[in-house]
Subunit: 415 residues, 2 copies
């Protein structure tokens, strides 16, 4: 294993030993983030990069706001923060909770754990509902947990847990929990979910939904988003016990209403986001992005099944990423390495305890049918060479049939 | 059929009806030219674009000359002309022949015909050896033709006839013809060949070899090349009967020896070529590019066979492009259209009389295994939907096995 193949395309930097494969194999991202960048966004990144206190930039930022309102399904402003997704999570937390609070966290994996770590950093007591990797959770179970651990002022969880490729029933959990605890603040990590599965910030009365650029919006990393329902914004405006400045969501909301940003924005990234959201809007909207992710996820699962591979998450697999168990326990890192070193195809390995046993194929954002079929086309001989009994072509055929069928049924339902 | 899918990624230009597929499907070139552009070349195209009468540009142009000498296997200068490939063909012709001459042309397809058209435009009588589409020709047959049509001062032909995806035995033809006519000038259209099959300009004593940027060198179109063996350069310097100025190869050769160009060069393209040739050089050289094209060609032919499809050119198929007969006569344009409209994958149709019956898959330059396997992954359901009996996955499996085997045998021979 080495990381040489990932480096040669960085500008003016080639590895010391530059092989023909380094040069010719196209580096392809099949991770659940970062994801491939849309060429219209790439072009916008090149510049020119204008001064931001201008009517032109405000017009651009207004379009970005409209696109994000559609993506997060909210009528309010969406904070656009120059930060990693974790910065958005911290902003959501710090603007809703303080030392007086006590929160619950659903920990379905690494990213669920991050909520607990943030709460701990802020000195907020936390009740943790721990799930096995890939284990689904019924809304009623979450509601029971909330009842059992009262008093609680917040519930934090991921809509799509990237580490286990598991989706959670955000709408069902929100409804069930609100029935047993009307005032509890609901905070959703939607970083890997936005663009892959619908998150209704306003309709489901979610107090805060966090997003990141580098997932379903065909963007490189660097921007975090926080959307709030009307009740969420009320709480953010009322909660002043936790110190914050850069992450003060009120500043972002007030500026956004004036088509501006509180601090110097990452101008190139905002321009690129304008291009990406504009393309999505003109091309059918965020629902079409979600449909595409769902189609690719369905095809990936069909291929895994045809190749005799098991999914980690069987009950509620995520449409953003698919976690597949290696045929032999312990062999997952070898699959990841062979795809990377032999084909410059970057899939994700497992995180933490899951590292030896799973690999994850991302299919969110700017990923199309040929990407997926090409990846499966090289995965099959990789598995074969590792001694796994594989009928060459069977995974591709199953995926291909699933893609066609999904397209037909999407059209049938008017999507 | 419409051309909407090809347009949306042009900067700032979207079609009036912009569908989700227009936005998300990645436009992929599987034509035999233009071919995909290497990212290092793309970055160089962006600029900065320096003034060309500087030591810095001369250093760049010297590197380009070294790279082209390797690609054309010559020790002499290589003319770099801001022109389409046809401009390079005309330059080669006008610098070697005049009204006193009489030439023979091997017409294996549309690009062979172009030699005849150029000769006719210059008023030079031409004896044409016409081949059926995809028909090979033995060197002895060419030699006999030359003997039968004496006096002749030149023989012009294509190394790889793109319209029929047929390769010609340049070395064998050169040797056989020289045996019967020692002084005949040998002019080779190597536009689609350079980077896909070896052309030894000096060793085979070819008087002129023409190349183009947009084929095996991972570049966009805009540059034509002419390389000459020592004897070729002698002839170019001696032949002054045909008027020429922009296409005067002596000007290009003399300038190149001073690391410059006779006219303002296409600076961005030259910089991009420097990047592409530099990458090829560091990554194992032009032989590795040829090996890659051969591997992909072998896999494409294996897939066609597994899918029950026939090749147009069976005896000497080109490593640059594969011409496949549609399962039903007349249905080839529908295959091309379905790949383009449904998947943004641009393969070539047939040219002229071949249009209804063949489609052509290019695999020259910056094309890798995943590209080809992905294309085959969508070709199979396209054929299936058109009523052709296809075992889904069988083409991909055959290609995948061929790729692995070719790699193993290339390694075995030390390539």
């Amino acid at each position: 294993m080495n990381s040489v193949l990932i480096q040669p395309r960085l500008p003016n930097r080639r590895p010391d030993s530059y092989s023909f494969d380094d040069m010719l194999r196209k580096p392809r991202l099949f991770t659940a983030g970062p994801t491939p960048v849309h060429p219209e966004a790439s072009r916008a990144l090149v510049g020119p990069h204008p001064y931001h206190r201008t009517p032109e930039f405000s017009a651009c930022f207004d379009r970005v706001q409209a696109g994000l309102r559609a993506a997060f399904r909210t009528d309010g402003p969406v904070a656009v923060i120059a930060a990693s997704g974790t910065g958005g999570m911290e902003a959501a937390f710090a603007n809703l909770f303080g030392a007086k609070d006590r929160v619950a966290v659903i920990e379905g994996g690494k990213f669920g754990e991050r909520w607990t770590q943030i709460a701990t950093a802020y000195g907020v007591p936390t009740a943790v509902l721990t799930l096995d990797a890939g284990e689904p959770v019924a809304p009623a179970v979450v509601a029971e947990f909330v009842v059992a651990h009262q008093p609680l002022t917040g519930l934090l969880f991921s809509a799509s847990e990237t580490s286990t490729a598991t989706a959670f029933d955000v709408e069902g959990i929100a409804r069930a929990v609100r029935e047993v605890s009307a005032d509890i603040a609901l905070v959703v990590d939607g970083i890997t979910a936005v663009g892959a599965l619908p998150i209704e910030t306003d309709a489901w009365q979610l107090d805060a939904v966090v997003g990141g650029a580098q997932k379903g919006l065909m963007m490189p990393p660097g921007l975090a988003f926080v959307a709030c329902s009307p009740r969420g914004w009320e709480r953010v405006r009322a909660e002043r016990s936790t110190p914050r400045y850069y992450f003060d969501l009120c500043r972002y909301a007030d500026s956004a209403l004036k088509a501006q940003t509180p601090f110097t924005p990452a101008i190139g990234l905002v321009q690129a986001l304008d291009a990406a959201l504009g393309a999505i809007d003109e091309a059918g909207g965020i629902g079409s992005m979600e449909d595409n992710a769902d189609r690719l996820a369905t095809a990936t699962r069909a291929a895994a099944d045809a190749l005799g591979l098991e999914l980690l998450s069987t009950a509620t697999p995520s449409p953003a990423v698919t976690a597949i168990r290696a045929p032999e326990p312990g062999s997952a890192p070898q699959i990841v390495a062979r795809l990377r070193d032999g084909h410059a195809a970057q899939v994700s390995g497992g995180q933490g305890d899951l590292k030896p046993d799973i690999f994850r194929i991302g299919h969110i954002g700017y990923v199309d049918d040929i990407d997926l079929l090409g990846l499966l086309g090289v995965l099959e001989p990789v598995l074969h060479q590792m001694g796994h009994s594989v009928e060459l072509g069977s995974g591709v055929a199953a995926a291909s049939a699933a893609l066609v069928q999904h397209r037909a049924s999407s059209r049938g339902t008017g999507e």
